[in-house]
């Protein structure tokens, strides 16, 4: 290693205080979009299985309905709806950003926060609907 390179490394300010490092809202919006997308890839399998059962016969439809009496199935459905709602809202935000809007730091952070608020509201509505 050259001396100049060592000097650069020495002089560079190091900030690794994990207590004060925070992801900006835009980064959280991005990672949540990815997580909700992967969750739904698995969720589609469950939904297709339910679709198959409900369309095969009236008995199958009734058995799926009784399945939703239990907490576990309700919770899974609520989770799927929450992931779906966030992914959809985040996707709409992305499409709006494709048109050149909300690309600045302030507007990007603001639109990310609005997406969180709308997704949370949708999640609550979905919870009320399911239960």
């Amino acid at each position: 290693m050259e001396l100049s390179e060592q000097n650069v490394k020495k002089q560079r300010p190091v900030h690794l205080d994990l207590q004060t490092i925070r992801f900006p809202a835009t980064a959280i919006a991005s990672i949540l979009h990815r997580i909700s997308g992967v969750i739904m890839l698995f969720a589609i399998g469950i939904l297709l299985w339910l679709l198959n059962s409900t369309l095969t016969s009236a008995e199958g439809f009734a058995s799926v309905q009784s399945l939703f009496d239990g907490f576990v199935m309700k919770f899974i459905l609520w989770g799927i709806l929450t992931a779906l709602g966030y992914h959809l809202l985040g996707g709409i935000r992305h499409l709006i950003m494709d048109t050149g809007r909300w690309e600045e730091l302030a507007s990007g952070i603001a639109s990310a926060k609005v997406t969180f608020a709308l997704a949370a509201a949708f999640s609550i509505i979905a919870g009320i609907w399911v239960w």
Binding site: L55, L84, L95
Partner: protein, 115 residues
């Protein structure tokens, strides 16, 4: 020049367009289906079976599953290329997810076929 054989489109621009086109189809399908279930309460077997027995709904469902295949392929590629640096593991995971999405499409065809 093929710079990445695991991606769906032939270029980044191709992937960009396909991701958005499939997203629009998926958004329309989800909003319609969730809206339909929400509006037709209590949902009975007759209403549900009747909806999926119509040709437009079968086409819409299969269209959505094709869009899902494209959307998931590109989305999974984006996520895996960012986080999984081991090429062979990334290849196996990409293969698994794409085969899963193809299976969803095949299952969807069989499910709506007989309704």
């Amino acid at each position: 020049m093929v710079t990445n054989a695991a991606s769906f489109g032939r270029s980044g621009v191709h992937d960009f367009i396909l991701l958005r086109a499939s997203a629009v189809i998926l958004a329309c399908y989800t909003i319609f289906l969730v809206g339909f279930i929400a509006c037709s309460s209590p949902l009975t077997f007759e209403i549900w079976h009747g909806l999926f027995s119509t040709l437009p709904m079968k086409v819409f469902t299969l269209l959505a599953l094709v869009a899902l295949l494209v959307h998931a392929w590109i989305g999974v590629w984006q996520v895996l290329t960012d986080y999984v640096k081991c090429t062979s593991l990334r290849g196996v995971l990409q293969f698994t997810f794409v085969v899963t999405a193809f299976s969803y499409l095949a299952a969807g065809i069989v499910i709506v076929w007989g309704v």
